[in-house]
């Protein structure tokens, strides 16, 4: 019994070929247990949460808060706020912490490696508040310019940096980034969207102030994600969205807010999604993540080498700790044509700018073809992939 059997979608065919899903950096597939948990929730316990004494509401509330417990214990975190995903989590920091704690002239440090979700919220805030944004350059070896980073920290109040690049798979020197930020008196937000699927981070030890990620990239459902926050940063946060469940009391002359995470979870929450995410955590808790991470990195490294031999340029380095993401381009075959040919053979890869245009600009390109591997992918699939690439290159180059 292989891991694949847990994922119903992986037995489907695409264009007459078995699906080989290599678009995991965009979203991962869901094991049957996750799908079932949500169906069962809707079939047995569906109700709105909090402040109700009836049985279903109790079960729904427990299901929802259970997921928070999963997150807190999985990541050893003090506060875990539910959001609709990484993007909303980062926007929550921009609105909830940024607006309350950043003044005109303050500095936010980003990097050229960021996903748009970790750039645009800051650009919006910067325009509104006259905050300066500095971008740490990416070096030719696909790593951050740590000297430039050290310099950029002067007067910085906040650093926002991606843990693992969704384009390159490069894992940044996060420990160093965090400790330097703190030394400079800045808070630091880690975009861990591509990290948590591979790496069970201890948030307390990690010592970042904020960490954002999405369920759908770690076997969980769409529509839910989380922001981890250290207690002291949490106390500095002002409400973002107003509404039901986030208040302590409301009068026409003003309102008071909850003091726990609910303060940032206005409205009916993502209940079924939380139940599904819990099931994903439970499923993942049975998986040896570090072993798979190494296995997949080896597959990625091998794939990258093969692609280079076939004349492709590979963007990334595939060193220890990096994610199994292989971004590449062929010198003459257009990446969109390439991806369509691959699709015709059952392979799902992504092309385009991967929501990281500043990084691609820096690399002097407008897009890549990206094959990203996850738990259920095998060396054999990588070999079939390379075989197909060889066929395409042979025919169309």
């Amino acid at each position: 019994m292989s891991l694949k059997d847990d994922f119903p979608i992986l037995s489907r065919e695409v264009n007459g070929h078995p699906l080989i899903y290599l678009d995991n950096a965009a979203t991962t597939q869901k094991p049957q247990v996750v799908i079932d948990a949500m169906s069962q929730y809707y079939s047995n316990s569906n109700a709105n949460v909090h402040r109700a004494v009836h049985t279903l509401a109790g079960e729904a509330t427990e299901g929802y808060e259970d997921c928070r417990r999963w997150i807190k214990s999985w990541f050893n975190a003090e506060k875990a706020i539910f959001t609709s995903g990484t993007t909303e989590a980062i926007n929550l920091v921009a609105h909830g912490w940024g607006r309350a704690n950043l003044q005109p002239g303050d500095v936010i440090v980003l990097t050229e490696m960021e996903h748009h979700s970790d750039i645009v919220p800051w650009q919006i805030l910067s325009e509104e508040r006259g905050i300066e944004i500095r971008y740490v350059p990416v070096l030719d070896d696909f790593t951050l310019d740590m000297e430039a980073y050290a310099v950029s920290l002067e007067n910085a109040k906040l650093v926002c940096v991606v843990h693992t690049s969704n384009v390159l798979g490069v894992r940044n020197s996060v420990d160093e980034l965090i400790s330097l930020a703190h030394k400079a008196g800045a808070k630091i937000l880690i975009d861990a969207a591509q990290a948590v699927p591979h790496d069970r981070i201890d948030f307390k030890q990690f010592n970042a102030d904020f960490m954002a990620f999405s369920a759908h990239k770690m076997c969980g459902p769409t529509g839910i994600g989380a922001l981890l926050v250290k207690n002291d940063a949490f106390e500095q946060m002002q409400p973002f969205m107003g509404g039901g469940d986030m208040i302590e009391s409301v009068t026409t002359s003003g309102s008071t807010y909850q003091t726990n995470e609910h303060k940032f979870e206005a409205g009916t929450p993502k209940i079924a999604e939380a139940v599904g995410w819990s099931a994903a955590f439970e499923w993942m808790s049975e998986i040896d993540l570090p072993a798979h991470h190494e296995r997949l990195l080896n597959i990625a490294k091998w794939t990258a080498d093969q692609l280079r031999e076939l004349g492709c340029t590979v963007y990334g380095r595939h060193q220890s700790g990096d994610a199994a993401v292989v971004s590449f381009l062929h010198p003459t075959i257009h990446s969109e044509d390439f991806a369509r040919f691959l699709d015709a053979k059952g392979f799902a890869v992504r092309t385009g700018h991967h929501c990281a245009q500043p990084l691609l600009n820096r690399l002097g390109i407008t897009g890549t073809i990206r094959a990203s591997f996850y738990l259920y992918n095998t060396r054999q699939e990588a070999e079939k992939f390379i075989e197909t690439v060889r066929h395409i290159v042979g025919k169309f180059a």
Binding site: V53, T55, G58, T61, E62, Y64, E65, D66
Partner: protein
Amino acid sequence: MKYPQALQDLIDEFAEIEDKMEILEYVYDLSDEVVEFPIAKWSEKTRIMGCQSEAHLEVVVVDGIVELRSGADAKIVQGMMGIITIAINGRKAEDVLQLKPDFAQEMGILNSLSPSRSNGFRNIFDKVMAEIRMKQ
């Protein structure tokens, strides 16, 4: 014996009731068992958070002996206080602190021990324990 006699008796009595309505009626009746905590003394400090109803308590520890005084506007909530009163009043603080909330589940008055589903019982119990720990 795991529990003091008075509590064990209560657990046994509850164990015989199956119907949820009857269980609730019994809890309702136990609202008489609380040592009164006059409304005049209710304050933010004595309030049990997370309860829908107004529910307040204070714990006094004299010569190491615990006394819970409590009250709530909802009778079933006050009944839960009555149960805890039976379980702890007149006993040594150090003994009381050994108590786990599981007994309420054995009694069938709790579907779940998780605070979010315990319908107030867990919040009452936790506050009582915290107060004792503070005042011990």
